[in-house]
Amino acid sequence: MKTLRKLIALLLCGVLPAGAAAGCSRDGGDAEATGPVRLLVFGAPEELQAYRTLVGAYAEKHPGREIQLIEASDRKDLLARLSTSIAGGAAPELFLMNYRFYGQFAVKDAIDPLDERIAASTLVNPADYYPVAMDAFKWRGRQLCLPQNVSSLAVYYNRTLFEKHGVPLPKPGWTWNDLLTTATAMTRDAAGGVIRGTESEGAARRPAVHGLGIEPSIIRLAPFVWSNDGEIVDDPARPTRLTLDNPPAKEALKNLIDLRLAYGVVPTDEEVESEDDESRFANGRLAMLLSSRRSTTTFRSITGFEWDVAPLPVYRRPAGILHSDAYCMTRGGANKQAAWNFLEYAVSAEGQKIIAATGRTVPSHIAVSTSEAFLGPAQPPRSAKVFLDAIGSVRALPTVSTWPEIEDVTGGILENALYRGDRLDDVVRELDEQTRPLFARGEYPR
């Protein structure tokens, strides 16, 4: 049996491409190579344009240092490309990834820690960055990636539409009930009259404008659970289960579900499948949208109306959720020094100013975030400071290697809860039962 195992291991090491062979002979190599630095990113066309701007600025400043942008269509595409390219021995030198998803690569030792390079750097000083973003990318005491942004969830709203209907604008400190009242007042028919969106299921008039857009997902629910003094997991450092059965979490979940089934202020699943919330907002058919800073680049192309952002509504205390992406360096990348040079530039004050000006990021660099590059009034949102004010109360989701699976599983259950009206207790039970094995299989940074 042992001989058979050895034989198979030998066969796999021989047949599997070089990346997988990282396992057979460790490390893709510190040996320096020439050629372009490949940077793997994903995003909407406007976001990709922002990265092209950054890469262009770098190329202009450092002629001869070539950065090749590899553009994935979405997050899942990026994960697939990254894993297969690592396995194929052709890993990109750099990739940009949210802290929620880098764990599965960190645990497999596919990311090169940056501590030594940071220590030797003259451009990057950890003290210059928001700790909450830096900490999100620490894995077992080592800084694996460097954050480019420190976004949080905000309420985008169609200011022109609010003013047209004379509905008070969302303001700091508003509550969940305020959000609900506002969303109800903004759900309108084609003639501009207030309409009850629940009538739109199957028959009768459909609202021409819905009051609110929110994605039924754990990352949208979490800040409201925290705001209501609840927890989404039993132990944020080493979670073993979701704890949405505690009363504050359950209340937040129920209120989220009621947005569709009881009040009809969010579009139906049919409407969302026809036109996603971001497009619906950009087309003037959604009064408010809960989203992160990512949407800003897309919304800056809106010309038909004025829009702005407001803080999240509050239950008992302000709470937000961290949205942060970071540049990570693959262990198997060929051109490490050149990759670090670009990474260092991208997260430095100069690089962050460039990307912040495109609207894509809330800079993780403290000084840049308070500079004109981010807060300047030339481009919307007018109230960009909302993102900065939220940083003090943002929390990161637990980092666990199986988080992508947990998000997928919970997303499906929450989607059915919001649109199909599954019983709350069943939803909570399913969430718990289906995610326990995933937490059990997960590995943690500490």
Partner: protein
């Protein structure tokens, strides 16, 4: 001497195919087979785990759902695809004015790249703005059909979504259609002339002449389609329905394997799922082969 040269030429001609078969099909298959018994995440080296993956799959409700979805898809889509291809072949085998154009139209969807085909259907099936829903709503009010019913919820209702994936597969029967068309045109004309003299009805001709004569080809195509049916569902489920509506209405085994391998980095687990899918395909083909042989023996007697 001449025979040896002939063999050498044959070997040379076959060499590129055999090389491709070994490098692109058999070797990856062998690796996948071996990986099914390991824990492998594409990054770290594989670790031998014996039959753990297979045991875990047996306990995995998502895999069970994917398996049932795949079998259901095969059971419904394969006969329907054969019916569509056969119907088209019988309709278009005569030399008539528009037959050439119609044949081209029948084959064309098969020539469209899969991703483009998926994206096209994503638009066609759009619940509110897609042409299919728009047509179904003609004559109705408030988003209902002329019969006062809600049109199919292609992307949000589990049953309708499964139907949508099957519907999509019915238009890519080009290869099957071409083979059946050729088979039909190769049938001897005198048999049909004799049937006409005997005043046989069209149904009689189909039942007693065309189908029995074309049966060997049909049988072969049925087996081929059954093997391929597990793959037809992958791109539509990935592009159009994303494996949903939730929880896993259109998650088929290939999509399950893809997600586990490349999104969750559980390549060994995905390889085990692929292995089981392969075994099921072999079982389905063996069953069909048996039935066809029994059918052949019955008709030869």
């Amino acid at each position: 001497m001449r025979r040896d040269r002939g063999r050498r030429q044959l070997a040379l001609l076959l060499a590129p195919y055999v090389l491709g078969l070994v490098v692109l099909v058999l070797a990856p298959f062998a690796v996948t087979l071996a990986l099914a018994f390991t824990e492998y995440d594409l990054i770290r080296p594989p670790v031998w785990t014996g039959t753990d993956n297979l045991t875990a799959l047996a306990d995995d409700p998502v895999f069970r759902t994917a398996l049932v979805n795949s079998l259901l898809f095969g059971a419904v889509a394969v006969p329907l695809r054969m019916l569509v291809a056969l119907g088209l072949a019988l309709l278009l085998h005569r030399r008539t004015a528009a037959a050439g154009t119609a044949r081209t139209a029948a084959v064309l969807p098969t020539a469209v790249p899969e991703i483009a085909y998926g994206l096209l259907w994503l638009w066609l099936l759009n619940p509110l703005y897609g042409p299919i829903s728009q047509i179904l709503r003609v004559g109705g009010e408030n988003g209902l059909t002329a019969f006062g019913r809600t049109p199919p919820q292609w992307l949000t209702d589990p049953v309708d979504a499964r139907a949508a994936i099957i519907l999509m597969s019915l238009f890519t029967v080009g290869e099957t259609f071409v083979i059946l068309l050729a088979a039909r045109r190769a049938l001897p004309a005198d048999v049909y002339e004799l049937a006409a003299l005997e005043d046989a009805t069209a149904w009689d001709v189909l039942r007693r002449i065309t189908l029995p004569l074309i049966a060997p080809v049909l049988g072969l195509l049925l087996i081929r389609d059954a093997i391929q049916s597990l793959q037809f569902s992958f791109v539509p489920a990935l592009i159009v329905t994303d494996g949903g509506p939730p929880p896993y209405a259109t998650t088929y085994v290939p999509l399950f394997a893809y997600r586990n391998a490349f999104e969750y980095l559980r390549y060994g687990y995905a390889a085990a799922a692929t292995l089981l899918m392969l075994l099921l395909t072999v079982a389905a083909v063996a069953l069909q082969w048996r039935l066809l042989r029994r059918y052949g023996r019955f008709h030869l007697r």
